[in-house]
């Protein structure tokens, strides 16, 4: 059981199920799924989404842009939503984060509803991502005071960074899973004297079909535990105190 905070820095949590191409999918699926989800996610919206597919060919990196329609189903208070696109189901929780006890049941409900709607034949990717915005009430902060994940630069470099991106992928479950950790400062408009960072944690299935469809929810539970560990590994007690741990 991980720590709980009264003021968690989470601005969005995202759970994504991307299905393999063997799964039959047609234009009726989003509508059928909405019928099952609408009690929890009644507000329906539509967006066009562009995705870039990169492939390494003999002539170098090829990129192809695909535009697809995505339906967004929001809860009444618009703090949670489910997104449905071609062979894609995403459940998002926005700020204030409802804690895992509030988020997990929605993920389970959406996933089970999808399985009741179509026969899911395989999982290309599952992801559990937490995007944290950490705002510090100071300028010129010393990263080591707040983070245990930040870039190291030797003494020959200027010690004042204008900007940076710390990006690491960690391997889990014998390479089946990975956790991508990113930390970078972000600008704050209209709030001089503060510094803000985005700490983005994305635990995902790196090996397509590496998890059986029946084990998807167990994978999500495990992913959550790993993300909690990584999050705690990224921060110091100074941040824990700011987030106000609930004992």
């Amino acid at each position: 059981m991980g720590r709980k905070y009264a003021n968690p820095p989470i601005i969005e949590a995202v759970c994504e199920f991307r299905l393999t191409s063997e799964t039959q999918w047609d234009l009726t699926v989003p509508g059928l799924l909405y019928e099952r989800l609408k009690e929890t996610f009644p507000q329906k919206e539509q967006r066009m989404v562009q995705e870039v597919e990169l492939t390494q060919g003999p002539e170098g990196l090829q990129q192809q842009i695909r535009t697809s329609e995505r339906l967004l189903f929001f809860t009444e208070d618009r703090k949670m939503l489910a997104q449905v696109g071609p062979r894609l189901l995403v459940v998002n929780a926005l700020k204030p984060y409802p804690h895992w006890e509030g988020f997990k049941p929605r993920i389970e409900m959406a996933w089970k509803s999808l399985q009741e709607t179509i026969e899911v034949r395989g999982l290309e990717r599952i992801g559990l991502r937490y995007i944290n915005r950490i705002e510090l009430p100071a300028q010129g902060v010393e990263l080591g005071d707040y983070f245990e994940f930040y870039p190291f630069v030797g003494k020959r470099f200027p010690q004042q960074m204008v900007s940076f991106l710390a990006y690491v992928e960690f391997s889990y479950a014998d390479g089946r899973d990975r956790c991508r950790v990113q930390l970078a400062p972000i600008p704050i408009s209209g709030a001089e004297g503060k510094t803000a960072f985005i700490l983005d944690l994305d635990y995902f299935l790196a090996r397509p079909r590496g998890v059986a469809v029946a084990d998807a929810l167990a994978w999500v539970e495990e992913a959550h535990s790993r993300v909690e560990e990584v999050f705690e590994g990224c921060i110091t007690d100074n941040l824990r105190n700011m987030f106000e741990e609930v004992l």
Partner: protein, 182 residues
């Protein structure tokens, strides 16, 4: 050793991710928020520090917050934002507008290339209604302004049909102001 990060001012991005990798943006899709992946950035040899924010925000359209931040960054390079926090909150309420705003900004730029564009959230003082406003600000106003506004609006108005959010293109007949004034 301690690494410090100074306060970052609001970025004025000089180049897009497309430009970073030496690809013309118009080769892919003109005037729309960039959608490249991390690989692109890694392969770029010309990245500058301020684009790190772009990189951080470019991943995955599955995240609503990241989509909004990506759009905000795109808008900020073209439009003066009066209340970024309110605009973010509005976009979070009306995510459908994420697709429309680039079209509105592009249309305004096309018909008013000489104008300063200003975006704000308008709150109706009498009823609980608010919407986004995109102001055109010119050094000199002439008789063609209203006609040009109508033409610009016509380019994206149909995209607002059946959407709950709204963006209004208009002018407050003020002169351009601020550091980015033309």
């Amino acid at each position: 050793m301690v690494t410090t990060v100074p306060y970052l001012h609001r970025p004025q991005l000089k180049t897009s991710m497309m430009e970073l990798q030496g690809t013309k943006a118009e080769d892919v899709k003109p005037e729309s928020p960039n959608i490249l992946t991390f690989c692109d950035f890694l392969q770029s040899s010309r990245q500058s520090s301020v684009e790190i924010v772009s990189l951080l925000l470019q991943r995955g359209s599955e995240s609503v917050v990241i989509d909004i931040e990506r759009l905000m960054e795109w808008i900020a390079r073209r439009v003066r934002l009066e209340n970024p926090h309110s605009i973010r909150e509005y976009l979070l309420r009306f995510t459908e507008l994420l697709d429309v705003i680039p079209q509105a900004v592009d249309a305004a730029k096309k018909h008013f290339p000489e104008a300063q564009l200003v975006m704000d959230v308008y709150q109706d003082p009498e009823i609980a209604d608010c919407y986004l406003v995109l102001f055109i600000r010119l050094k000199h106003y002439d008789d063609s302004v209203i006609e040009r506004l109508e033409k610009a609006e016509a380019e994206f108005l149909d995209q607002l049909v059946n959407k709950e959010g709204w963006i209004q293109l208009t002018t407050d007949f003020r002169e351009p102001e601020g550091e980015d004034v033309l």
